[in-house]
């Protein structure tokens, strides 16, 4: 059973069909890229898979559980264009809050772990509202990794990160993939994701074309 399976997912916003019968799957230990022009529907698809948006038609499952159910949410980590962190709280306070929402046994350890993973330990005590764009992206990444999900949905994970951090993040992602996570990421930059991918797909006018389907893991 693939870790993520998405069957004939469509999504309308009013009269426009942003996604049209999208079928896709992703196995554990795979890292797939989602390409597409601005407004192609990448974020919409990822939001549906993360359970932040309902598909108009079709179904998607994470490890057998329909997206949007608690079982699926527990296994999914989502990085969106927004940080999903409250600007008046510190990074550590924000992360700790999410750790409790995820009912992690040791919230503090989870926070430290996630921050270490993105090399953002120095951010812990800073308020999110005063972070630079790249620092905020790091904190948001830590949020997505916090509960050690089995499926990672990353919407432009490398946007506004500096070269050093991109390198670190690539290494982290490679390690996670090796550990058996399924990773789906959207991007506009081939160079940044080179060497990470097991497959890819492109959205165009709402249709997904899987370019190198189910490439075996390298």
């Amino acid at each position: 059973m693939p870790l993520l399976e998405c069957q004939s997912v469509s999504r309308f916003f009013g009269e426009t069909a942003v996604l049209r019968q999208v079928n896709w799957r992703c196995e554990a230990g795979q890292c797939l890229a989602l390409w597409g022009a601005n407004g192609a529907g990448k974020s919409t698809l990822l939001r549906i898979l993360a359970g932040a948006l309902r598909p108009s038609l079709g179904t998607a499952t994470v490890n057998g559980a329909a997206v949007g159910t608690a079982a699926a949410r527990r296994q999914t980590g989502f990085l969106s264009h927004q940080s999903l962190l409250h600007p008046h709280l510190t990074v550590a306070e924000n992360l700790r809050f999410y750790a409790v929402l995820h009912q992690l046994p040791d919230p503090d350890a989870a926070v430290t772990g996630a921050l270490t993973q993105v090399r953002g330990e120095y951010l812990a005590a800073r308020r999110v509202g005063e972070l630079s764009q790249g620092m905020r992206q790091k904190a948001a990444l830590a949020r997505a990794l916090l509960h050690q999900p089995r499926l990672l949905l990353l919407d432009e994970p490398f946007a506004s990160l500096d070269l050093q951090t991109v390198g670190d993040m690539r290494a982290s992602l490679l390690e996670l993939r090796r550990a058996g996570l399924a990773i789906l990421l959207s991007s506009h930059n081939r160079q940044q994701v080179e060497g990470l991918l097991d497959g890819e797909a492109t959205l165009e006018r709402g249709r997904l074309s899987v370019s190198s389907p189910e490439v075996a893991r390298a």
Binding site: L53, R54, L85, H86, H88, V100, L101, V128, R143
Partner: protein
Amino acid sequence: MRELGEWRIAAAVCARDLRIELRTREALLAMGFYALLVMVIFSFAFSSDASLTLRAGGGLLWVAFLFAALVALDRAFLREAGESSLVGLQIAPASRAAILAGKFAASYAIILGLEALLMPLFAVLFNTPRRADWGGIIITALLGTWALAANGTYFSAMCAHTRQRALLLPLLLLPVSIPAILAMVQATQVYLTGEGMANYWLQLLIGYDVIFTVLAWALADMVLDIE
């Protein structure tokens, strides 16, 4: 075990909201002054003659409490607007009822805090009669504020979606709140003047609290639902 987890989630939501609101000492101070001001405006607007207090004290007190609620409730979901942290709550595997309960608890605590400041001020500024039964008034305040906070949290959550459907809510909420409001005003009046029976109104209030809380709990999934 699962139940325990839910409570822990509610507690975390509540603690976070209180922390955001009351981060600084100045915020607490500002709250105290706010309460003072509301009472000043009131005693000024109603030039506090004693018979007024006797005959309409319950109403005055509750309008003052409403001012307190105004500050707290308006913010309950406004807090989640920036950087879409509402989405963060929605995609977490926490039950929506627990989240709503946490938000409710935070609002309830803030409003009660303000009321605790308002009540002695009211007593002093409006020369409440000696025979006033403050224990009863406090119980009424606890019950009535529960109703306000439960309603308001629900209302605020719905408004967070800013969709057409939210338009209907105040229209629905008002007639729904009227019995509760009637009950709290009347019960307070009875306790202030010592005339009449308060039990009847308290029972109404308790009934209302129970029904509305259960409804809000049951419908939490709907109001916090994704699009």
